[in-house]
Symmetry: C2
Subunit: 378 residues, 2 copies
């Protein structure tokens, strides 16, 4: 995400833009609000790769028919504590929001709600959904599979997605919020190194023969052409550093997402114009364990002890999970959301195509050059 | 575990020994069966560090009063889908077995059972309990905290346990079974390198200042003296390789074990003659997702595709989680359970102390030298 110049716009400006654009795409106001909130929450956390820069990609998905604007998530199997949802190729954010709302509703009624959703699309940051639950006094969990990018230990072909797992639990002063891929890094990081022309750090990626590689361009080309290679699990590619553990954690996300729902496993997704991405959701009502206040107070104390623990030489801060996001939101709301100017060129094209007035949102700002989003490679 | 000579004994021999010894310790037959089964299952999986060699350590815990023979686990809070169990300083295996049986009972009645247990002791392999649930048609989960051994990212003091997470789900021909610490390796691995006098691999351990160390003896001494250092999270000690991810996964085990139960967090355990170890358990009835047969068939197909995927150069096998254990059980049942002769010296001492006839179990086998378990450093 380091290519090009960064411009900053207020949350309100980008919120207005996204809302109008998603309504033009054909979503109703409530749907546009959900999709926009998922995207801009990611931008506020400083995770641009999953933020509004994806808007154009989503529009391409809609154009191709991979993402269906008019589909509705359907509960195809249900018990008081669980459900299987068929996303019918709708937007990942809408399927995700629907499924987690269902899980929370069940958690309020029975104590626990577990929902597995199939036939969906990229749903943004997994943590958004986990936080929906934690804001309602639950321990929230969400995970998703994705296009295969993780090479299993001793393999040379990507068979598992980046398969993030996210957990959230209320705590003070920072909510506990842990959202991470089960690969050592995401594809976005490789793309960033490629754009910068820098060699990849050791321990990230494999070439088409399954050997370690520092060549971002080669690895990315091989992944796109499905000729082998990919990203290592958390723990690298040897059992010495725990490769089998990252691989196993990726499997857990796969189980909650595609296995429980009867959906497509990562290695089958994103083929022949079909996404097939699956998600998993769990909400555990903290009343099941004496109440959110009690649980949260106990956790907050431990998090405080962690932050106050002795630091390694050369370091002055131990972060607890969720702390960085709180700091980022405060800073970015004040300074504005950073957007790469290349993305703004895409936004200009999108406005032109949708008949929206780019100046209405961005005044006299001019993106670097005119492009055409329909010929670009998104 | 590489120190000394290895001797092998049949499962039946060691089962008889453990059963008799635990009954002599004061447990009833059913309790002795549970503890013995947890230990010998670990030995059959080839995980000696958590197997019958721990018997003497457990006896020391009983002697010191850290482990109470006559205590019973108590349900102190309960809902139809959840419970908090107080282990009252009893044996970890008995608290673990009780808690997972409770979780499974709830899962049969409501679909899900989540149990968090406090004031317990070392419970052996986390995977044993996850498998109790998978054998009953559930997705099983178990985790535990432990004495602090993991140094959080950018810290120099161990604040989190090895905090394993284990998951199990029925599948053919190998059940899915994933059991791993959230540290890059366990303390047992460091002890093994120390005994062999070999330098630790890079990426495992930190010295007392929080800098990487290859000196097993120094790291172990610092840990024991609580003067800093410890083992890195899965992902090492830099964010580049995902240290914050291993650290976060350790936190999830902590949440299910000590936070939900209101028990001791890892950094407070094993002090002043009190263990305080906590465990977490979850059973999700697969009837919640269309039935165990359907879920298992889908998972089995994916696991097959993983095993059959192209291999990295120099490798001819991609393992799926649980496969190695099935192979190990078949081999070890045939060849016998390997035991280090030093452990057999301890066993001889224990037999003498308990008034058990060592020869009844081991015939003419003589352990290398007479010792005295009550003066040794266990």
């Amino acid at each position: 995400m380091a290519e090009g110049n960064i411009v900053k716009f207020s949350y309100e400006t980008l919120n207005n833009l996204c809302m109008d654009a998603f309504e033009k795409f054909g979503f109703d106001r409530k749907q546009a609000e959900i999709i926009t909130d998922v995207l801009l929450t990611s931008d506020l956390y400083g995770i641009q790769s999953h933020g509004m820069q994806r808007m154009v990609r989503y529009y391409k998905g809609i154009q191709k028919g991979t993402m269906k604007v008019d589909s509705k998530p359907e509960i195809v199997f249900e018990t008081p504590v669980s459900a299987i949802v068929d996303g019918h190729d709708g937007m990942g954010q809408l399927n995700g929001h629907f499924s987690m709302e269902l899980a929370i509703k069940k958690a309020k009624e029975t104590g626990v709600g577990i929902v597995s959703c199939r036939n969906s699309n990229h749903y943004g940051i997994a943590g958004y959904y986990a936080q929906m639950a934690s804001k309602q006094g639950c321990l929230g969990f969400s995970c998703t599979n994705s296009e295969a990018i993780m090479v299993p230990t001793f393999g040379r072909k990507a068979m598992i997605g980046s398969n993030p797992q996210a957990w959230a639990l209320p705590a003070d002063p920072y909510p506990f919020f842990f959202d991470c891929s089960t690969t050592v890094v995401t594809r976005g990081k490789l793309e960033m190194y490629n754009k910068m022309g820098k060699p990849l750090p050791d321990g990230w990626a494999l070439n088409k023969d399954g050997n370690p590689s520092n060549d971002a361009a080669d690895v990315l080309a091989n992944i796109s052409a499905h000729i082998g290679g990919g990203i290592m699990p958390l723990g690298g590619n040897t059992e010495t550093l725990g490769s089998h553990k990252g691989y196993g954690n990726g499997m857990i996300a796969e189980i909650f997402a595609s296995i429980l729902s009867g959906g497509m496993t990562s290695n089958k997704t994103m083929k022949d114009g079909k996404s097939g991405i699956c998600h998993g959701f769990m909400a555990i009502n903290l009343d099941c364990f004496g109440g959110a206040d009690k649980v949260s107070a106990h956790l907050s104390q431990y998090l405080k002890e962690l932050r106050e623990a002795p630091k390694a030489e050369g370091h002055d801060h131990i972060y607890t999970h969720g702390e960085k996001e709180v700091v980022a939101v405060a800073r970015i709301k004040k300074e504005g959301i950073p957007v790469i100017d290349k993305t703004m060129t895409e936004v200009k094209d999108l406005c032109d195509y949708l008949g929206m007035d780019f100046k209405k949102y961005f005044g006299d700002y001019e993106p670097p050059k005119a492009g055409n989003m329909f010929t670009g490679n998104y």
